[in-house]
Symmetry: C2
Subunit: 318 residues, 2 copies
């Protein structure tokens, strides 16, 4: 049957379709969505996870480096939270093993949300609707950073983007991509991009050196996985980013210094493969990469429960 | 019939139920919603209308004064955009006649979004989906500040909050509010609050002096309508704020210095009516005011079209 043919066809491809996660705790994810949008997770009362991972815009902020508390300039480009659950680890250098472990970071990071795990729990505890919702979700009263990050991570697991045109092609719909896009995919495979960008996330399943063949010049201070392992060999080794929704997550590279997708493709050819693509080759690969934009998560804008007289007040200034 | 009774009963009340606006251009409002959520309306690419009028949180930012471009401290408390279409004019001093006129202000205000009317139009023009949507909505190609603010205003007109418990009571559902809340309403009327807070918005239909009986002490520099009229008599005269959704729009007063609703009620008694309410009276009125929280606008989080290689880049720093 057609289904068998198409399944066997994508089984032999280095990229697999995105699937919706099966095991979501819906009420926990609904709580996590509220928390993801709640600026009271920051000291200022102004910044939420969604400020820097804007789900209206592909799950990142489209800035070179982020704006944090007090308009501090962040050290590195904000990666998308879309499909982050498919990553082998979190952050550019993979220093957090899980989404749950990751979520505690920005809350307490002084250049991001600048709050503390205790303060955030104290804030949420003063809000009756949150108290009730945590109790309902976790089966007993109590709000702490463990439960907060657990719920946020459950929400993030839902942020997958299935049904891209490329996935429909993988699944057997031969008209889902154009001949030129297909040619771009063939070139992507034949030139070796899939050595690093493969699997359902088209990346995010290995660490590799940026500048394998020719060095990448940047003023950015990040040095990659050496910060985690201490191994000199891990200097400039980064988690290979997902290329899912890459059309939406400009600017590119960990320093955000690469403005356009065509530039990123041309640079990858040079830096990682020692290959100078022609303009037409770059265009073809870029056209293919744009077929990786999937269905964006859609849901009603969450409504957040109001603070009370007991809620510690935000401190936006000073 | 019951309907006749209930209609005649609210006809004699100083407050009327909120009605949904009848004449919305849905496709224009849908475009306006995107613009309301689009941080590319700001120089930094980081601040949208929704940053300071967060529709997850009652349409304001719940800060004393706002955070604008470069984390500049704004001069005044951010009023809610909910039901703003019912106001006799926009801003605390009423200096903009319409929502459309208002919307041009923050875009170009250096302490808010810090962009310019030309730059924002230039940004949107480089985005094919926006070009197509403006053409479809306005019937001819072209994007300029007039169309941008027209669409935003159309979206804002939809941001009404009908069906509050108090409105259900007004419409004849005698169980929609408690006896204590009703007592609070009776006290609100009998003490004279409705002289200023009346109509469907429970305010927003007149200008009045803050500190009519006793002066209000504030370090805030705003002097109210004198800035518009130049009349000395208009010093400390402000647009009477709507009390719809007042539970959600803390902190209170134009300087945001009043943290709790109970405090705001007690102060209003003293400053405007020369009356010192007992704690129980304050509580009752506060309980009534909380029945004015209506159905919040709910809609799917808008998805924004991506920038292109031609889009002027955001300038978050410097
Ligand atoms: C001020 C901006 C900012 C805020 C606020 C913020 N993040 Fe991030 N986020 C970043 C940046 C920058 C990185 C990359 C940091 C790094 O790799 O060293 C990141 C990394 C991540 C990652 C890892 C993605 C990957 O592929 O490695 C996840 C997941 C994430 N953030 C989720 C969250 C959650 C959940 C919140 C709220 C609790 C949050 N972020 C708040 C800027 C922000
Ligand atoms: C040897 C591994 C490797 C190969 C081969 C490789 N990449 Fe990459 N790719 C990476 C790494 C690592 C990064 C992250 C670079 C950084 O730190 O900014 C990256 C980043 C990218 C980005 C930017 C992603 C983002 O979100 O910023 C694009 C686009 C990209 N690669 C496309 C390609 C294409 C197209 C090819 C083939 C021409 C290719 N890559 C080959 C490892 C590789
Ligand atoms: C940086 C914060 C900030 C941003 C961004 C912002 N506003 Fe405001 N908004 C305010 C403040 C503060 C006021 C009150 C100013 C005054 O009265 O002088 C206000 C007033 C208003 C009012 C008048 C409400 C009333 O009852 O008087 C409306 C309507 C409004 N804004 C809509 C918008 C729209 C639409 C945008 C985006 C185009 C926007 N705002 C962007 C902070 C902001
Ligand atoms: C003479 C006119 C007048 C009367 C009478 C009056 N108010 Fe007000 N009220 C105002 C004005 C003007 C403001 C705006 C004050 C400012 O500039 O911050 C206001 C503000 C408020 C606020 C804060 C709104 C916000 O969003 O910050 C509340 C709550 C309130 N009034 C409740 C009451 C109650 C309860 C009474 C009766 C006890 C009352 N008012 C009587 C004119 C009046
Ligand atoms: Ca646990
Ligand atoms: Ca990026
Ligand atoms: Ca307020
Ligand atoms: Mg809403």
């Amino acid at each position: 049957t057609l289904v068998t043919v198409s399944l066997s066809s994508f089984a032999s491809e280095p990229i697999q379709p995105i699937e919706r996660p099966a095991d979501i705790d819906q009420s926990k994810a609904a709580l996590g969505m509220k928390l993801f949008f709640d600026p009271r997770l920051s000291k200022s009362g102004f910044l939420s996870c969604n400020s820097c991972h804007n789900l209206s815009m592909g799950g990142s902020d489209n800035l070179k480096t982020s704006i944090g508390h007090n308009w501090q300039q962040g050290p590195i480009n904000s990666p998308t939270v879309l499909n982050a659950g498919l990553s082998l680890a979190q952050f550019w250098d993979g220093r957090a093993a899980t989404l749950k472990e990751q979520a505690g970071g920005p809350i307490a990071n002084p250049v991001e949300m600048a709050s503390s795990h205790k303060l955030v729990a104290d804030v949420l505890k003063t809000i009756p609707q949150y108290r009730a919702e945590f109790q309902q979700v976790f089966g007993s009263p109590g709000i702490d950073i463990d439960r907060i990050t657990d719920a946020i991570a459950e929400f993030e697991k839902t942020l997958v983007t299935p049904n891209s045109r490329f996935d429909r092609w993988l699944l057997g719909d031969t008209k889902a991509i154009t001949a030129r896009e297909l040619a771009g995919y063939e070139l992507f495979k034949s030139s070796g991009c899939t050595a690093c960008h493969s699997g359902p996330a088209v990346g995010a399943n290995s660490y590799h050196k940026l500048g394998l063949v020719r060095p990448y010049k940047t003023e950015n201070a990040a040095r990659g996985r050496i910060a985690v392992t201490g191994n000199k060999a891990d200097e400039f080794v980064f988690k290979v980013p997902t290329l899912r929704n890459i059309e939406l997550t400009y600017p590119y590279f960990h320093d955000g210094e690469v403005a356009t997708l065509r530039e990123a493709v041309a640079l990858m050819g040079q830096l990682q493969l020692g290959r100078d693509f022609t303009a037409d080759e770059v265009d073809k690969i870029t056209a293919f990469l744009k077929t990786l934009t999937g269905d964006q998560p859609t849901f009603p804008l969450p409504l957040l429960p109001p603070s009370t007289e007991q809620t510690p007040q935000p401190e936006p200034f000073g």
